[in-house]
């Protein structure tokens, strides 16, 4: 083994996009690979859990965990990696905030299993088989990780030192984070490694946003052909840029799609969804209750809109479990 700093990557409940993001470093990846020893990276390298267990505590300089925590195995692994790492980084929106998988907190295990394995239109499961943690067949016992009712962000199960936001994190942020780690020039613990200002600050369309915007109808991206130079909110598209941390270079808006909030809120905000909703509702162009309701009907799924990436990390965490309906 070399004495290069050791780095690990791990994935929990995630789509794999964050892994892609690492690869998206392109040539820079080679530089990183040269500077560090990647000691654990299930998606790319054949190290096993036992290899990690064999390491000294704190032996790994930094572990980047992407994905939310939704199974027992994920929780065990992050506890293990925490112990073995000097620095634990929540990498991407799922690890940082719960991410898209976190929207599962509108249901619970029972409802999800029912839907996924029994009632969805594309399911054919006459035997009604659902996942089990322990199964005996042909004289062997198979054990699978347990599935939690509630998805958690990484910092809800263990202490997290830094977060790299995004779905997925953008290469510039990843490079900067790795650079900071290797140089040892680290910001205070708990810092989100992206600018602590909202996205409008780096949006080309900011100047086209009117100062007295009143939204009388919310549009969804498929409903209009948006002008590609004008502020999307001004066109009625629910762009969360004003409520979302900058750092991505407004890429979605560059593709004429509204920001959906994957970089999470700024550090001054306690609850991403509530704050974004406060700002957006304030812009509703009506004072009459019925008219306000009519305009708000244009936001058919407010939780999926304002907490798309952050329900587990929000103040409410989840839908109250006793109100989850299980029969589809």
């Amino acid at each position: 083994m070399t004495d290069k700093p050791k780095v690990a990557f791990y994935w929990c409940a995630s789509c794999g996009g964050c892994e892609e993001a690492v690869v998206d470093l392109a040539e820079e990846l080679l530089g990183v690979a040269a500077a560090v020893d990647i000691v654990f990276w299930p998606v790319a390298l054949d190290f096993k859990r036992a290899d990690v267990e064999a390491m000294e505590d704190g032996e790994i300089l930094a572990t980047f965990v992407n994905g939310a925590i939704r199974t027992t195995e994920q929780e065990e692994m992050v506890h293990l990696l925490r112990k073995k790492s000097k620095v634990l980084v929540a990498f991407g929106a799922c690890a940082q905030l719960g991410g898209i998988p976190g929207l599962a907190n509108l249901w619970d295990r029972e409802a999800i299993f029912e839907r996924a394995y029994l009632t969805s239109p594309t399911t054919e499961n006459p035997a009604g088989t659902v996942p089990l943690t322990d199964y005996a067949a042909n004289g062997h016992r198979i054990q699978l990780p347990g599935f939690y009712d509630t998805v958690m962000s990484l910092d809800q199960v263990t202490q997290v030192d830094y977060a790299v936001p995004g779905c997925a994190p953008t290469p510039n942020l990843i490079a900067a984070a790795v650079g900071a780690l290797l140089s040892g020039d680290l910001p205070p613990l708990g810092t989100v490694l992206a600018p602590d200002v909202a996205l409008c600050s780096e949006c080309d369309r900011r100047d086209t946003k009117p100062e007295d915007l009143h939204i009388t109808a919310f549009k969804r991206p498929h409903e209009i052909i948006a002008d590609d130079e004008t502020c999307l909110l001004a066109q009625g598209l629910l762009c969360l840029g004003p409520a979302t941390r900058a750092g991505c270079g407004a890429q979605c808006i560059g593709a004429n799609m509204p920001c959906t909030g994957c970089f999470g809120p700024t550090s001054r905000v306690h609850d991403q969804g509530a704050k974004a909703a406060s700002a957006i509702a304030s812009l509703v162009g009506a004072d009459d209750p019925a008219e306000i309701e009519r305009i708000l009907d244009g936001i058919p799924d407010p939780i999926g809109t304002f907490y798309r990436y952050g329900l587990p990390h929000s103040l409410m965490v989840r839908r109250r479990q006793d109100t989850v309906e299980t029969t589809a």
Binding site: A198, R206, K209, T266, K275, S278, L283
Partner: protein, 661 residues
Amino acid sequence: MSGPSLNGDTRIGVYVCHCGTNIAGPIDVEAVTEYAAGLPGVVVARAYKYMCSDPGQELITHDILEEGLDRVVVASCSPSLHEETFRRAVAKGGVNPYLFQMVNIREHGSWVHDDVEMATAKAKDLVRAGVARVRFHRPLEPRRVPVDGSAMVVGGGIAGIHAALTLANAGKHVYLVEREPTIGGHMAQFDKTFPTLDCAACILTPKMTQVRNHPNITLWTMAEVVEVDGFVGAYRVKVRHEPRFIIEDACVGCLECIDVCVFRNGKTPDEFNLGLSKRKPIYIPFPQAVPQVVVIDPEACIEFRAGCRKKTCVEVCADRNAIDFQQVATFDEVEVGTIVLATGFKTFDAGRIPYYGYGRYDNVYTALEVERLVNAAGPTTGEVVLRDGRTPQSVGIIHCVGSRDENTNTHCSRVCCMYSLKLAHLMKEKTGAEVYNFYIDMRTPGKGMEEFYNRVGSEGVHFIRGKVGDVYPEAGDTGRLVLQAEDTLLGRIRKIPVDMVVLATGIEPQSDAEDVRRLFNITCSAGGFFMERHPKLAPVSTFTDGVFLAGTCQGPRDIPDTVAQAGAAAAEALALIDAGSILLEPNTAFVSAEDCSGCKTCIGMCPYQAIAHIDGKAVINEVLCKGCGTCVAACPSGAIHQNLFDDDEIFEEILGVLIHA
């Protein structure tokens, strides 16, 4: 934004007020104090009988010096009462007065809860929240804004007249705005005034003339305030002038035009005489009207309908050229430092109580109509003649019409008993009629009032304690009306036939009091009268700084009280103007520039245009900001802060009321 000393080294003093037994009754003050002593950051916790007293305040000052306190919490009454008091005490000890938090355990605690355990638990929660919050307070300086040297008085009745004259005599410029063609208000319509029986016109009209001639008063009649902008010290008021169709400066008040009007006789009910006489399309409201300028009623004048061929009024006016049929509404905009509202009252509409027969029986009158009837300048030149031409032999006066009645108004109108006595006296004097007063209670407080009651009683006026339940024509076509009431002193039903019924109608808020209230951003009390800042300690102030109340717009009162109150309102306005500037609560919002993304969400939130977008950042103009905090709640990235109500402070307060620290 964090407070300056959050690292466990805050030294907070907590003071819990007994307020005699006001708080200490339903709340276990000692338990609250003991509890406060154990809260983090608290180094002193004391209970005291009256925190607002000098020794109470000195406790704070003393502890700041002796114990090195850097934050103070007082749990006592509402901050609207004593926040300033305690801030001063804190400042006296050398600590910035805004490093102080007031906790309301009286109005929101001991006075509204009976259960000692629950009320005490609530007080502890509130104290805990105050302690949690005050740690985040930052030192602040109050804002000082200059006060414009002129004032506006709205309403030209006796209250407005007196307020305007007081201000003008003190050398301040006053805009007096009255919507009628003349000032004088209701008082001008009265005959005599109780209890002295001096003639209302005799004492009022000299003051009206003074207004007209005063160099410091700009008098605008037929004018209404339509817009109020700005804030204390610098109100911008827009006034609409209705067309009078007379050029005020050109009219000399000769009244010749009225004589020569093509209408030989008036056909329009005369407003001033409450319809008891008719007036012409061109008229003067009453002989002593101020200004002494005629007015043309476009509804009545044929020039406005068909066109008048003769235009005799124009002819007689000749080269004075005071008549201008082309006049349209005009507007003026003025800046004033302070405003006195003296918009008066309206009398209760007697038709709302059908069984009293007003509007149905000719000989049922309202008291105000009778004022005109007995007045020498009135429609009958002071002779009391009924609508059927007779002189009444008997008169019944019904008290409390539209007052003290759950179906109409629950309040006592305060003046009706006294003016009923006055009218009883005048009727008796003028006609020798038998006069019956039907009353619920006789209310005659005040100087000379009870004496007047005794006098009227000794003059042979009858008093029947009972509420009239019905008024109906006497059988046999006598033209008399029977008043039926239970005499609660005799315990039997009385049916008294009278020639004339007088309804002592009560005082109600003006029908547009709601609109006026909104215009000036003040509040109404339950009955619809304008609400004073404090019923005892700030009776002429409102919750809007620089707007004061005078007269019956604030509640029913008689002329002496109205004048006294108008003087008080003028004095408050003067104090403000003479101070030259006023200190405002520093609860303004500000943008943390480095945190602002320039998203502009806040800009449209501000009703005062205090937020501008400059070089990609929002910037709040502290002078224009009034501190509502709407932009703070709207800011999607938490880049706007509000002094005294910052996110940190409120979040701490929320946690404070909920969770044991």
